[in-house]
Symmetry: C2
Subunit: 215 residues, 2 copies
């Protein structure tokens, strides 16, 4: 089987380590049992140095055979379609999984990332708090009634939703025990643990050549 | 061929008419030549009255045979996979289309909708302006070099990106002639014009039973 290539930065500061979105693709490959390798673009100058591969200067992007795919959601969907472990093959299970992948990106992350952006840029009275709180309450209700988002088992939808939710400040936002238990259950999976450890090791190794003053 | 059913609200105020996201699914059906009908849930009490069908209380959602799908992006992808007019069948064209659909939702709309939310809630010095401006500049560069986002022809990626961009305040954000020409080119399509006119008529018809005082 051909190797998948996951592209990420050569280095990042300590803050985002463990959260850079190449993790979504590493994790998917671990769950599916796909062999993969990791290649890098430079963190310095990232806003313009790889626009040919990613027009918004982001990571990750994916190479698979002749295909080159950016957007972590699109890369994850590509991998999911290659493995029943990530995406059920029956029409109903597949549709439910895809719908919850879009919900993770467009109903939760569309609020949580800008909310978090306002938090770290020091907004007083974060104007997105009510909206975010409402969405997380609605999700709490869903997760109080089922163990997995789709098809009564782990799918790529749980991978993506958990990656959106596990950001510390989002998880700590109010008391939502079903959501907390869900994130713990999903991140306890060996495939997540390995993907996260590998990402941490990847960036830590770069400290040695770069010098630690930057981190 | 079975009819697709697109679910939307029974009525909305005049402001959002022409922009309610059932339009994405109407437009896709018009492009693909799929027969479809429209059914409604009540606008009043929308936050809780259809959580069984849409756990975030949003529209649209889609019924297609035995499948029920929420999230406009997921519904659009479902329709696109049924029609080559929306989604190329070759692996490269398909991957490019899907990646740009995710970019529309997660790289542009993830910034533009919260930016717009802050604008209408009266934020001074909208904290998301720099981020949004940067993303739109990057997109302008792409659209300056090509007519369509993927596969050298109209696809579901153009449908979705255009629907994200055509919101008045987003379009008016700075001077980006390639983006402006792109939105004009795509919204000139007869399928968009019909879908938009049908949505306007749907909500206008509801004024008669509801009384116009609300609008």
């Amino acid at each position: 089987m051909r190797d998948v290539i996951i592209w990420t930065y050569d280095w990042v500061p300590k803050g985002p380590r463990g959260f850079v979105r190449d993790l979504r693709l590493r994790w998917a490959c671990e769950e599916a049992g796909f062999p993969y390798s990791v290649r890098t673009v430079a963190f310095d100058g990232r806003e313009t140095n790889h626009l040919e591969q990613q027009p918004f200067g982001q990571v990750p992007f994916l190479s698979d055979g002749g295909l080159q795919i950016f957007e972590s959601g699109a890369g994850l969907m590509h991998l999911a379609r290659r493995s029943e472990k990530l995406l059920p093959r029956d029409a109903e299970g597949e549709a439910a999984t895809l719908q919850w992948m879009f919900a993770a990106l467009n109903s939760i992350e569309m609020v949580s990332v800008p909310w978090w952006f306002l938090e770290i840029t020091g907004a007083k009275d974060n104007a997105l708090t009510g909206w975010m709180s409402n969405r997380l309450d609605q999700l709490e209700k869903v997760l109080g009634e089922r163990e997995w988002l789709a098809a009564d088992r782990f799918t790529a939808a749980d991978l993506l939703m958990t990656d959106v939710l596990r950001v510390g400040k989002v998880r700590a936002f109010g008391d939502r025990p079903a959501t907390e238990a869900y994130v713990t259950r999903v991140t306890d999976r060996p495939a997540f643990q390995k993907a996260r450890a590998d990402q941490m090791a990847h960036f830590a190794a770069a400290d040695e050549t770069r010098g630690t003053a930057d981190s």
